[in-house]
């Protein structure tokens, strides 16, 4: 029957279509390997496009005619980036060849089997000895294997807009000595300029890990406590330090009301609203953020500011009551890794080596405002002239790193929730701390918790 034949052809065609759609993957053409690089994209003014520019890629491809570089930024909020990356790395057909991993999630992703052990590769790489030893360790898995090549590191502090603090009667060399100094400065700014945001600290879960590390831990580690004791493998819950930190956040957002309005702070674009828009326009007095924030203000950045060192100051975060050494910072950073399911590992490592030469390391630190991970780059004259580099380097000396434990990403989510609950007034500091204790016990097991001090 004619009709039947047509039907059969239709069925065959349809199934062929479905099957090819499922099985398509990028095959290299004429022996050329395409290396796909994924990182968290932040749009057009993303500094990564300037560091690894079209000219740089063209130059690389000329030297390595068998390799083609494809930039594949993942445009997502900080909270969503890691899940999108994990989903991509789960399958061989979607796994990029080089990924940018935040060092807090690297041990967890390594444990999940997503990453390649780069040990055999770096051992044969002459430049490897120029990397900072502590940071190399920071890019290892909990099994001690080298899963990442450090890309950048950072320090955090209180960015101060001198035009705003001047109105509030603070001198240009004002530095907070303890938490109370910050609170009283915020109150003064509020009084002097009601339109300015006195103190911006991120508290929304949509801002993801930065809320745990950059807000909560920045204060919390200044109480002398830590989140986790590596030796005993115990997580700290129900402690005084946690409650004190939450009380500070509660004071800023609910008692003094010196924080940004909820609609600014709860937005996924909180960071760019503050540091690309309001802060450069003298609408923010103090903002807690990382050393890389200068990347917004350099020439070619999202919001260029001339003479930034004269207009702004980078103050180190004081400890709670000024306990020695007087200041504290959390340090993290991003590392480059090769997914276990990448099909082009050798080519990927060739690209990685080119991406991380001394020159590129200096370029990246200057364009992004991040701190370099190479000891030789840190001595480069151009690097030493970077705005605010002195304070950032000083801060790094007393830096704390996040718990090197594969459960940290999940605990971090509980921290973010706790902070948001307090700042938005949904829970009292006490209730939020109690909820955190319950959450952490569910994640790590009640037997792995303790109360410090």
């Amino acid at each position: 029957m004619k009709l039947r034949n047509y039907a059969l052809i239709g069925v065959a065609a349809l199934s062929a279509l479905v099957l090819t759609a499922c099985g398509s993957s990028s095959k290299s053409k004429k022996g050329v390997t395409t290396v796909k690089i994924a990182w968290r994209g932040t749009g057009k003014s993303d500094s990564m496009y300037r560091v690894y520019s079209k000219a740089w890629i063209a130059d690389f491809e000329k030297k390595h005619p068998k390799i083609k570089i494809e930039l594949q930024p993942i445009n997502a909020s900080e909270g969503d980036y890691f899940s999108k990356l994990d989903l991509a790395m789960k399958s061989a057909s979607t796994a990029p060849d080089i990924v940018n991993e935040d060092t807090f999630i690297l041990p967890s992703d390594a444990k999940a089997g997503y990453l390649t052990d780069l040990g055999p590769y770096v051992n044969k790489w002459s430049d490897w000895s120029n990397y900072n030893a502590a940071l190399k360790k920071g890019s290892q898995g909990s099994d001690g294997k080298q899963y990442g090549i450090p890309g950048t590191t950072d320090a955090r502090g209180i960015w101060t807009n001198l035009a705003v603090t001047k109105k509030a009667g603070l001198s240009s060399d004002w530095t907070p000595k303890n938490w109370d100094d910050i609170l009283s400065a915020a109150r003064k700014i509020k009084k002097a300029d009601s339109s300015a945001i006195p103190l911006a600290i991120g508290v929304s879960t949509t801002n993801g890990e930065s809320v745990a590390m950059q807000t909560f831990e920045m204060f919390f580690y200044g109480t002398g406590e830590t989140l986790y004791t590596e030796k005993t493998n115990k997580w700290n819950v129900n402690s005084k330090g946690i409650l004190d930190t939450l009380n500070f956040i509660n004071t800023v957002y609910n008692k003094d009301k010196t924080g940004p309005s909820m609609s600014v702070v709860m937005n996924a674009n909180y960071g760019s609203t503050i540091f690309q828009d309001k802060f450069p326009k003298n609408q923010v007095g103090m903002g807690l953020d990382g050393s890389w924030t200068t990347g917004n203000w350099v020439k070619g950045g999202a919001a260029p500011v001339s003479n930034m060192t004269k207009k702004f100051a980078f103050n180190l975060m004081p400890t709670q009551n000024g306990e020695a050494p007087g200041y504290v910072t959390m340090s993290g950073g991003w590392a480059w890794a090769i997914p276990a399911k990448s099909k082009n590992k050798t080519a990927a490592f060739t690209v990685l080596k080119a991406m991380n030469t001394k020159k590129k390391a200096v370029d990246r630190a200057l364009m992004e405002g991040t701190l370099t991970v190479r000891d030789d780059a840190a001595k480069d004259p151009a690097y030493l002239k970077k705005p605010f580099i002195e304070q950032a380097t000083k801060a790094l000396k007393n830096a704390y790193f996040r718990p090197k434990n594969e459960l940290y990403p999940k605990v971090s989510v509980a921290i973010q929730k706790m902070v948001e609950d307090v700042a938005s007034g949904q829970k009292t500091p006490k209730a939020a701390a109690a909820k955190y204790a319950t959450d952490v016990k569910a994640i790590v097991g009640a037997e792995n918790t303790e109360t410090q001090k």
Binding site: A7, V11, A112, K427
Partner: protein
């Protein structure tokens, strides 16, 4: 059923031609079955399976998938946030879908009856424009309208001298309910329009002749005559609204705190923000259950069979 007695049963001459037709029908249906199997049944079965596992996006569990029995469900029912999310979902569905969309949809359809064609077209087009706009875009429109420097605040300031109000953070649930009504009313309106147009004019004329008031006409004649449509429509919009995610996520992200964390948002956060995919799928089953229960309830209350 009843008709079976009237219409004579079909003769079944099992001749060769008929057999061939059956075969053909079978072959023709294969593609749709294959597609259903790939895109509908497999994911559903997988969802149920995964809800009993420790499936995770990262960490040791991501590489060692294990069946953990009912552990996800135990955790879920112990989590006070589940009850809150279920409650928020119910509020959202009842106010934005059942009351909002159905009521306004019916009202607009009823008022547009018998009006001038051009008028109907213009009003209809405006309302349908909201329906054809993608959810995310609707979300952004509402953020722009309700934001700190949004249209509403500017209007309130210039007309009434009001201070700006952070609507999305002061009245989060009301904001998303209104946005969803705004978006979804067109659907109900269209459904009711067709149903109302099908009511024969004679029936209502007869009622008027018998001296029925306008109110009686609506409650005793019009509504009962479209009862089946009302039931179908309520069920459809309920199921649609139960799954609304992008609108809420773009407008409030489920916040502030958990103020607008309906079940889909709660599920997303557990699966993709807290990296616990297995737990997330377990929550999605609760959503499925609520949808099924709601459908059964409507069928009972409105006494209709689909």
């Amino acid at each position: 059923m009843d008709a079976a007695g009237v219409v004579p049963p079909r003769k079944k001459p099992r001749n060769a031609q008929d057999k061939a037709k059956r075969k053909l029908a079978f072959w023709l249906m294969i593609p749709s079955f294959v597609l259903l199997l790939i895109f509908f049944i497999t994911p559903m079965v997988l969802t149920i399976l995964f809800s009993f596992t420790n499936l995770s996006l990262t960490g040791a569990n991501a590489s060692a998938l294990k069946f953990i029995g009912f552990q996800n469900f135990v955790t879920m029912f112990k989590d006070p946030q589940l009850a809150q999310s279920v409650w928020k979902t119910i509020i959202f569905v009842v106010f934005s879908a059942v009351i909002g969309q159905c009521f306004f949809g019916f009202l607009i359809a009823f008022m547009m009856r018998g009006k001038n064609r051009t008028f109907r077209r213009i009003v209809g087009l405006i309302i349908i424009a909201a329906w054809v706009t993608p959810e995310v875009v609707v979300g952004f429109c509402w953020v722009a309208f309700l934001g700190d420097n949004g249209t509403l605040n500017l209007l309130a300031h210039s007309l009434l001298g009001m201070k700006p109000v952070a609507w999305l953070y002061t009245f989060p649930m009301i904001s998303i309910v209104i946005a969803n009504i705004w978006r979804g009313t067109a659907f109900s309106m269209m459904v009711f329009q067709t149903a109302l147009d099908d009511i024969p004019a004679e029936v209502e004329e007869a009622a008027v002749m018998d001296g029925a008031s306008r109110w009686q006409l609506v409650t005793k004649i019009t509504i009962p005559m479209v009862r089946g449509t009302i039931a179908t429509n309520i069920m459809l919009v309920t199921l649609q609204t139960l799954g609304v995610f992008s609108l809420i996520y773009t407008m409030t992200g489920g916040g502030p705190g958990n103020a607008t964390a309906t079940l889909p948002v709660f599920m997303y956060k557990q699966a993709f923000v807290a990296y616990q995919l297995g737990y997330g799928t377990a929550i999605s089953l609760v959503l499925l259950l609520i949808g099924a229960l709601a459908s059964l309830l409507y069928m009972r209350v409105l006494k209709v069979r689909l």
